[in-house]
Amino acid sequence: MRFNFVAVGLGFIFQTAFLSVRGHELGRCPITNLFEVIIFVAWSAALFYMVIGPAYRLSLMGAFTAPLVVLLQLTALSLPIVQPHRAKLPPNSWLEFHASISLVAYGAFALACIAGVMYLVQERQLKTHHLHSIFYHLPPLTDLFAAITRLLWWGFGLYTLGLASGFFVGEPLPWVQIVCATAVWVLYGLILQGRYLHWFAPKRVAALCVVGFSAALTLLWGITFTGQSHTP
């Protein structure tokens, strides 16, 4: 667990350094294109792991987080790297807050997705009675479910804040972006609602976290694509 934490921590420091340099050159928050947005999401996932990992003491969380962060980084690197250049217009602080806080919420959703995968792996082994080596290293089901719930709340809360701040941007946003952002909010709202109203068993909540994050990433693509003209 310590090794995982140190490894993710080192990666987080490098990501922070990259975003800092990039932001300095741009003169604003470095989320102006898909390449930067994906790196920002990967950074947010690592941030949540760094903050939440030790608090929840979930063993192997780092071992599951690291591959997702690497995958996101590789996806970003496969995209054309746009050279940073200073925008002609001065930065809109509300737009920057709206975009960055929404992406930090994605970090929480990413970690909820990881906890969901861990839950599904553990649950599957318990149901089939086939216990593999990983069974003894993964955390208990109830701990994982508690972590999923908390991460969903963190993500939903931050995302709501991000959406609400969008009303103060002071300029019209593309309707596709508004629809996509609202769809993600409704999706996670329904997962939380279903969890508390007993619509879904824990296993389904875990599965929905995985489906939800995949859908949210796809919609993020759409949001970023249509939002190129409204770069913060």
């Binding site: 003894y136 208990p140 109830t142 068993a201 824990p202 296993k203």
Partner: protein
């Protein structure tokens, strides 16, 4: 200095022999009468071993006589023993030098135990060492040897899966409960049936901190008895099913021919507790819980076969890990021999039992 180990274990001695040589031992007699510089006694229910360090060679018979309960230690006479095994005929094994080091490392790691990889033995070795250290019978040679043995045991546990999984039905059930609920003290447990197996499982759960234990049985008297033994609460047999709404772990072991719990009966109760898992341990034969119950969300049903299968799987995994553990031990034995125990190998050549199998190190007879 000659390091040696003389002993008996479950490999080559029956319980009677172990009892005879294991209790009430005067380790001082080894030090005083035999000219042994250092001596340490390890006596558990499965083994009696004396580890010693001496300039002169101490014979196995001398050690055996010191361990023999039927001989008055000061006299060290021959006439008192009348059991089927005497000090002379007891199947003592003897390891010297490098072989002694290797044997202790194997014992500490649990490779030589009846249940491979059990961890209790390390605590017993530590206790024996502490006792010898406090009474002054263990000196610098045994100190180095045992400290190294503790390090090796820790390393083997960390770097192999020799201790992985539980190997008895009761401990498998407890392990599974921990992997579902994490914190057992907050779990509510209902035991239906007051038989021996349910008592063992209930006791195992109580030993891991379960506080809320409820017992239900057709015979109220037996339920009361078990409840007293395990500080549990008795639930009338007619109303046990209502408890399913709030319990986390359900243990069934009644002699009922028909299933007590079916999917149809359980499903409505689960709607009120969908976000809380229910772990059902059905140790009855024939089974008390309909297997269809396992298809329900958040219900984990394990019968006696599945628990036994997991226990066997764990044991098989532990056996597979022996080779890896032996490799680690071999490295540490070589290092110990090189850095601390120079000359041990030379002394091993004058071992009383040179026929000891290097690969298995199974006990050789005296």
């Amino acid at each position: 200095m000659n390091l040696f180990c003389v002993g008996l274990s479950h490999h080559n001695a029956d319980v009677e022999t172990l009892e005879r040589f294991g209790g009430n031992v005067e380790i001082d007699c080894l030090l005083k009468n035999s000219g042994c510089a250092e001596a340490l006694l390890l006596a558990t229910c499965n083994r009696v071993e004396v580890y010693g360090a001496s300039e002169a060679r101490i014979s196995t018979l001398e050690v055996a006589r010191c361990l023999d309960r039927r001989i008055d230690p000061p006299s060290l006479g021959y006439g008192a023993a009348s059991s089927h095994v005497s000090s002379e005929s007891a199947p003592f094994y003897r390891y010297e030098g490098e072989q002694c080091v290797r044997h202790l490392f194997r014992v500490g790691c649990g490779i030589d135990s009846m249940v491979i990889g059990e961890t209790e033995i390390l605590g017993q070795v530590k206790k024996a060492y502490e006792a010898a250290r406090s009474n002054g019978s263990a000196g610098r040679y045994l100190h180095r040897l045992f400290q190294r043995a503790f390090r090796v045991a820790k390393y083997v546990r960390t770097h192999t899966e020799i201790t992985r999984g539980a190997v008895s039905v009761g401990s498998v059930a407890v392990d599974l409960a921990q992997k579902i609920f994490g914190n057992l003290p907050t779990c509510k447990v209902l035991v239906i049936g007051a038989g021996e197996t349910s008592e063992k499982t209930a006791r195992a759960l109580v030993s891991r901190g379960v506080c809320d234990l409820r017992i239900s049985n057709r015979s109220g008297e037996r339920a009361e008895n078990l409840a007293q033994l395990t500080t549990a609460r008795v639930v009338p047999f007619e109303t046990w099913s209502n408890e399913c709404r709030e319990v986390d772990i359900l243990i069934t072991s009644t002699s009922s021919e028909a299933p007590l719990l079916s999917r149809m009966k359980l499903e409505p109760m689960l709607r009120e507790r969908i976000d809380r898992p229910l772990f059902i341990i059905d140790i009855a034969v024939p089974r008390n819980v309909d297997p269809d119950v396992d298809a329900l969300d958040a219900v984990y049903l394990y019968d006696i076969d599945s628990l036994q299968s997991i226990a066997e799987q764990s044991l098989a995994t532990r056996r597979e890990q022996i080779a890896a553990a032996e490799q680690i031990i071999a490295q540490h034995v070589a290092e110990f021999d090189e850095s601390i125990g120079r000359g041990l190998s030379r002394l091993a050549q004058v071992s009383e039992h040179p026929q000891v199998d290097e690969t298995s190190l199974r006990p050789s007879e005296s």
